[in-house]
Symmetry: C2
Subunit: 207 residues, 2 copies
Amino acid sequence: LIPTITAFAASPDRGRALARDMPVRWALEEVGAPHDIRRLSFAQLKEDAHRHLQPFGQIPTYECGAVSMFESGAIVLHIALDQPGLLPQAPAARARALSWMFAAVSTVEPVVLQRENTLFMERDKAWFSERLPMVDEQVRTRLRDLSASLGAADWLHGEFSAGDLLMVQVLRRLAGSELLAEHPNLLAYVARAEARPAFQRAFAAQL
Amino acid sequence: LIPTITAFAASPDRGRALARDMPVRWALEEVGAPHDIRRLSFAQLKEDAHRHLQPFGQIPTYECGAVSMFESGAIVLHIALDQPGLLPQAPAARARALSWMFAAVSTVEPVVLQRENTLFMERDKAWFSERLPMVDEQVRTRLRDLSASLGAADWLHGEFSAGDLLMVQVLRRLAGSELLAEHPNLLAYVARAEARPAFQRAFAAQL
């Protein structure tokens, strides 16, 4: 059985692999699993046929036999639980990797997305110049803690895991920003992950 | 081995069980696992001893033998993978429950927290009355999709799962707001979950 995942027919990120299909493609490349891509227009995302698979009208979805999933974090976890390579076997290390997966999508990503939304939707508002620094400070707080926790290590806890995969994918949204550049160890962490052959294959495939 | 979780010594929610120890307490009650609570002052959250367990200086943490975790969603997942009662056995149903777990913490919760932060931090700003409706609209979009997906069902997919637990815990943050009241099926869904004996026990314990 080969899974099918959905992606944007035309990604708004212009090839930077920031859309949510990327972590799923990357995870599938890490475990060496072949997969098919089904590309959807923005109009198709809002159709009932897609909402049946993805209640919020987003990408990606993952279909494989009887399994039908949504949420990139959940799909990466499903792949990691199913096939070796993305989660440690030892209970303590596995638990720590799960912690980092959720930290990526629920503690770090929300402040990064809030910043993107502020830049995208509020740039022409009178309050933009006063509010952006408030939003930036929330990102800075998270990055400071993340940088301190990573320290001089290659990965967040032992070997590369699904926790690193999701965290790097979040940090990649800040590529080129001064916020990320304030932490050389985070820049190196992202570069280390992007150098992985599986990342490279996934990146090339989504282009 | 009995796990120890951390909670606020004085929760800022004044007894409403909205802090992140609640989903963990609730999950432990659902699977019938005894547990110890260690209460921390706000000052203790920022100390190195705690940051070693929780890099972002938050609650809860979960310690059990060699396992040391953070992130309430990850801890609930760890409990659900370890003990029966919170995740279906069948692969397709399990995958769907994982999808809902991540949807709760990474698709619905961020817009709900953004609204809380707006009410808490921007109420005295000149832009408050113009920006709040923008923030509310993002919450409405998510609730509309969630309500449509739940429909007349008791739970998001088949039996009650960790996905419902995390989603209800997010929706509880909107208790009393008109945003939630616009969807009677979501109000009933929250009430149904809060009526579960495990929820009741966890709620009483955190008071």
